[in-house]
């Protein structure tokens, strides 16, 4: 089994810098950040310069009355003004950073689970919701409203390039609005410590032109195509035989489990197991046979006892579910 090149996974999951924004909210925060960094550098230089001067280079005995003015000015008045300024700016930014719910937005329900993401695109024309997992796509230039929940522990939904984060709290629903401003692939990750494999809970957000996005959504809504090759058909039989369908759904087949990720189009995703592995047949084999080596404490049981041929066929089948 060839090890994937080092940068594959990161490239698959996309950009993730706060300072290279691709969304309206993130852009507003990035601008604020640059001013804060600049201002902080300036204040740091002045204060530390003054303290070094006072401690090591000061000519003797400055006049105490003047120095008291420095305390009032430097310690109280200037900080108050500066802080009032940045606070006002921060508050003024709030409607851009955390906007009121927009009209005509893409509506998605997202659940964080140990350690993956379940999402349902709310149908716009009365059809049933489109279930996806561990990968979202959004149309550029159109806001998306994400309703966030968690059935197990607290997670936090974070796509640095698009917006700040929002916690997913059992028993509550929180909301985040994303408004992508350029196309690309952007990495998301869980930001709240959520147990053993907290580090292995990322996802990709694909920002597309609206037409491409419509096509993507239609594709995700469609049932799985029956396997074409004999090997893949064998893989499908293995899937059924070993009861994978108890946890996983593959729409268009009898597998309708609701415990683990929907696998109808698993082969189309950029990564496996919420960003833990790239998505190649070898990775399916590794994941299925050695779940806990890849992702400690994951809920899926390992199927290392499967005969090698079955495993390879299963991987081929799943990889073909595009």
């Amino acid at each position: 089994m060839a090890a994937p090149p080092d940068d594959t996974l990161a490239a698959l999951l996309g950009e993730s810098s706060v300072l290279a924004p691709a969304g309206r909210s993130a852009a507003a925060i990035a601008e604020l950040s640059w001013w804060l960094f600049g201002g902080a550098t300036l204040i740091w230089l002045v204060v530390i310069g003054l303290s070094i001067y006072a401690a090591y280079f000061g000519p003797r005995a400055h006049d105490e009355a003047k120095v008291r003015l420095l305390v009032v000015g430097g310690g109280a008045v200037i900080p108050t003004l500066v802080l009032a300024g940045v606070l006002a700016w921060g508050l003024w930014l709030m409607p851009q950073v955390k906007p009121p719910l927009p009209q005509g937005a893409v509506e998605i329900e997202v659940e964080g689970l140990q350690w993956w993401w379940r999402a349902r695109y709310r149908a716009e024309t009365g059809e049933t919701a489109v279930p996806v997992a561990n990968e979202l796509a959004l149309p550029v230039g159109r806001p998306a409203v994400l309703r966030l929940t968690s059935p197990d522990v607290i997670h936090s939904f974070w796509v640095p390039a698009l917006a700040g984060k929002m916690d997913m709290i059992p028993g509550r629903e929180t909301v985040i609005v994303l408004e992508p401003t350029r196309t690309g692939v952007f990495r998301g990750a869980c930001a709240e410590y959520c147990g053993a494999s907290h580090a292995l809970m990322s996802f990709a957000v694909l920002v597309m032109e609206p037409a491409a996005w419509e096509a993507w959504l239609a594709r995700q809504a469609a049932p799985a195509e029956p396997p074409a090759s004999a090997a893949a058909q064998r893989g499908m039989a293995v899937f059924t035989e070993y009861g994978c369908g108890a946890c996983h759904a593959i729409r268009g087949t009898e597998a309708d489990g609701d415990v683990g990720p929907d696998l109808t189009h698993v082969g189309s995703r950029r990564t496996l197991a919420a960003g833990a592995l790239p998505n190649t047949p070898d990775d399916y084999v590794r994941w299925i046979s050695d779940v806990h080596e890849v992702k400690p404490d994951a809920n899926m049981p390992p199927f290392g006892m499967l005969p090698e041929g079955d495993l390879a066929a299963l991987a081929l089948y799943l990889d073909g579910l595009t």
Binding site: I52, A61, G90, P170, A199
Partner: protein, 846 residues
């Protein structure tokens, strides 16, 4: 010779002995430290403070080694040096140990060690309480830290968020965290009470509150904050452990609980905690800066106001740890404003320090190097703190390595560097010899450069999308170099600390004893000879200035000659002076107890209660709890309110004060009062839980649920108010000399209390409220439980008074036991009233 004759012999001045020699001999005898294995029965602040400080520092090193393992794991991407599970134990224990076993205790330990010296007192008012706190701290700390060697350490993070830490992590780890650290928190609160009373009541005559050393002001502020911040966490821990052990669903949303209740309780503690750790280090800086600048601190009253202001504001910021929980924008705005405002008092303090150095003539030395480095690091941490206080910025930075960088800049710059500087500065005062300036400089530069290498890149790591608490990261995100540099920096920092440690422990036998007052400081603690004699202050000085060594003429000569108060121990007993709170008039000569094993034994049994409870060995745990109670009662019986052989004592300079005091004149009354304020804060945390549920549920109590009704709670209230009134009656009778009536009334209390508890429990019991069914019955039951436990303690207090009265030790003139019991019952009245109004009354109006 009998023991008494021996003492009399010691008390006699010997032929050929000068008055001063005789005085010093008697002082030395009274304050002598036990030797051999009995050394560990010492309770004097110089021993307990030293052990405490050394232990806190050892826990710091331990937590630091955990951090090095984490940095080694993160040095390269996809590393497998440790497993995910081990890593999660490491970061949980690193944070918990740094906060609970180093941050807070190091302040308390160091204050126990030096506060009496700074106040010219011979000891703190309750030496045995300090010793008890130390042993609790040691037992609890070893218990919590030791768990990692059994792969059983807590792994829920130092913040232990439910439901992860309540329902999704099996094993004893999280219970060890909850019970072990609750145990330590109780010790922390005990030390805080001790320090508050110490700062308020053991100041030397003449040291009015506006002359008090700034360090003592910070002690007051910080200990006060501990008193209000730790109890809500203990309340939270109680709810948490009730859920883990008995399935009471406080944080389970399926049964009406809410995970956010824990976050509120935790951060109401957790944010002040940061200032509880940070302010003491500033206090050290405020103590050292005048010695560096060779002049009094500029802006004493500003610094005091700023410290008090920081203390207050710090209780209004907790929600900034919860910006991303989906709160409304109004709350975010309010808490943003409160959070940035805390920078203002901090700025004032910093500028007062800079101003002092501008006005004075700075003397470059190693402690000052540490303080300068601290400024450079801390100011950057403060500036990033303003950034994360702004909600929009925090949405991005929260729970990323940016915050890891921020908090380490604040805590290492604001706390660790000043502490290391202070160790260098105060070392001669404790160890008698100086640390090496050369090693000090090497240690500083390694630590300073290493620290910045380790933590500065983390700002960038965070902004590039690296969340906190990840055991690994993938290559290709631009994190490899940053993390490698961080790891190299961490090991460089560790090398600097190793040099520092070597300087501290290296043999110094050949080195001459340090000069007296080596920094030419002006504050009282440097009046002592070096190496310091065990009695602390040679004589308790009359103070009329903030820097007596600089500002009072002939001070050191008078001090050495014993020309102030209590220059002698005529009866060979340990004595210190109690003064009034504001203007420090002497009002009592307090005899403080000497070495004892009882405190260690009590701590051992109390530790047994918590540790055995962790492993669900409830029968053994309760046995230990009972033994701890019995030991503490024996300690109180033999060691407190001791009958003096005379009413008054001449303490010198023509002042005569009583040897016995009760009520507000006594330190015991103050300790009880302050403890109960903290107790009320914990109770408020639980009551907050009840009303919090009311705010998160559309209807609370939930429709269709049976409450405890109003009848039984009202009956309980009536009975317990009667018990309170009878307690006051007993006090009146005893103080009026009608001791038999007092005994009868106390006996009546022993009946009324338990009957009241039964009536209180009857409400939820008879209506069949099942605490595992829903958060509502669980909350009602926990209020009843809390009140019941407190009434049980009240029962023990009544029984103790009754026994003391029957033994003839509680009389009209010796009334401290009943007065403290009555004070306790005043707070019981408040507790019962609020409990009854909440569980019985609130459902009627909601």
């Amino acid at each position: 010779m009998s023991g008494r004759d021996k003492l009399l012999d010691w008390a006699r001045t010997r032929p050929g002995e000068s008055v001063q020699e005789a005085q010093e001999r008697r002082l030395a005898k009274a304050w002598e430290t036990p030797t051999g294995w009995r050394y560990w029965s010492a309770v004097n602040n110089t021993e307990v403070g030293l052990w405490y400080t050394v232990c806190a520092f050892l826990f710091f090193l331990f937590a630091g080694v955990l951090a090095l393992i984490m940095r080694a794991q993160l040095a390269v991407p996809d590393n497998d040096l440790v497993t995910a599970d081990q890593y999660n134990q490491l970061f949980t224990l690193h944070g918990s140990a740094m906060m609970f076993l180093f941050g807070v205790p190091s302040f308390e330990a160091f204050s126990i060690l030096v506060l009496p010296q700074m106040l010219g007192a011979r000891d703190l008012p309750f030496p045995r309480l300090s010793a008890f706190g130390f042993w609790c701290f040691l037992i609890g700390g070893v218990f919590v830290c030791g768990s990692i060697y059994f792969d059983a350490a807590p792994k829920g993070g130092w913040f232990m968020y439910p439901p992860l830490a309540t329902e999704y992590q099996d094993g004893y780890g999280n219970d060890i965290w909850l019970l072990g650290l609750s145990f330590i928190e109780i010790a922390s609160i005990a030390a805080a009470v001790e320090l508050i009373v110490g700062a308020l009541k053991t100041r030397p005559p003449g040291m009015r509150i506006n002359l008090m050393p700034l360090y003592a002001w910070y002690v007051l502020v910080v200990a006060g904050m501990i008193l209000f911040a730790f109890p809500p966490l203990i309340a939270g821990d109680l709810l948490f452990e009730m859920q883990r052990a008995f399935d009471w669903p406080f944080f389970d949303p399926d049964r009406g609980g809410d995970p956010l209740l824990w976050q509120h309780l935790f951060w109401i503690f957790g944010h002040p905690e940061v200032y509880i750790i940070f302010l003491p280090a500033i206090a050290l800086v405020a103590t050292m800066i005048p010695a560096f600048a060779q002049r009094p601190l500029v802006g004493y009253s500003w610094v005091v106001l700023a410290a008090v202001g920081t203390g207050f504001i710090s209780f209004g910021l907790w929600v900034h740890h919860m910006y991303t929980t989906g709160l409304p924008n109004v709350s975010l705005g309010f808490f943003s404003a409160a959070s940035v405002s805390v920078a203002i008092p901090t700025g004032v303090q910093l500028f007062c320090f800079i101003a002092t150095m501008l006005v004075g003539r700075a003397t470059g030395n190693v402690p000052m190097l540490w303080v300068s480095g601290a400024f450079a690091v801390f100011v950057l941490g403060g500036l990033t703190g303003v950034m994360v206080a702004l909600a929009p910025f925090d949405f991005q930075a929260h729970d990323t390595y940016f915050v890891v960088a921020h908090l380490h800049y604040v805590l290492v710059g604001g706390v660790v560097f000043p502490i290391l500087g202070a160790i260098h500065y105060f070392y001669p005062l404790v160890g008698g010899r100086s640390l090496s300036p050369r090693l000090g400089k090497i240690a500083f530069w390694l630590a300073f450069v290493g620290f910045n290498l380790a933590f500065w890149p983390m700002h960038i790591s965070g902004l590039r999308g690296m969340p906190r608490r990840v055991f690994t990261y993938e290559p290709g995100m631009g994190l490899e170099l940053l993390n490698l540099v961080s790891t190299i920096g961490a090991f460089t920092l560790a090398t600097g600390l190793a040099v520092f440690l070597w300087d501290v422990i290296r043999p110094k036998g050949r080195q001459p004893v340090s000069a007296r007052n080596p920094w030419n400081a002006g504050s009282l603690e440097w009046a002592t000879k070096i190496p310091p004699p065990p009695w602390g202050a040679r004589t308790i000085p009359a103070v009329s200035s903030r820097y007596p060594l600089w500002q009072q003429e002939n001070f050191v000569a008078d001090y050495d000659a014993g020309r102030f108060y209590l220059p002698d121990a005529e009866e060979v007993k340990r004595e210190t002076i109690i003064t009034t709170v504001i203007d420090a008039r002497p009002i009592q000569c307090l005899r403080v107890p000497g070495p004892a094993w009882l405190t260690m034994i009590a701590a051992g049994f109390a530790g047994g209660f918590f540790i055995l409870g962790t492993f669900e060995l409830y029968a053994l745990a309760i046995t230990c709890g009972a033994l701890a109670t019995a030991t503490i009662l024996a300690w109180l019986w033999t060691g407190t309110a001791v009958e003096p052989e005379k009413e008054e004592k001449d303490i010198g300079l023509g002042v005569t004060v009583p040897l016995y005091a009760s009520g507000p004149a006594s330190v015991g009354w103050w300790a009880m009062f302050i403890t109960m304020i903290g107790d009320m804060a914990a109770f408020a945390g639980i009551v907050f839980g009840y009303y919090f549920f009311w705010t998160v549920h559309p209807e609370f109590p939930p429709p269709g649920s049976r409450g405890p009704g109003w009848e039984w709670p009202t009956i309980a209230l009536a009975i317990l108010v009667l018990a309170w009134a009878v307690t006051m009656g007993a006090q009146k009778a005893i103080r009026g000399g009608r001791e038999r009536l007092g005994i009868a009334l106390l006996a009546a209390c022993l009946v009324l209390g338990p009957v009241g508890v039964a009536a209180l429990a009857a409400g939820p019991w008879l209506t069949g409220m099942d605490p595992t069914a829903h958060a509502y019955p669980a909350t009602v039951w926990v209020l009843v439980l809390w009140t019941g436990i407190h009434l049980a303690i009240g029962f023990v207090a009544h029984a103790y008074c009754l026994a003391r009265a029957l033994a003839g030790r509680l009389t009209a003139r010796r009334d401290i036991d009943i007065r403290n019991t009555t004070l306790y019952w005043h707070f019981m009245f408040a507790t019962v009233l609020v409990t009854v109004a909440t569980i019985g009354g609130f459902p009627l109006v909601s």
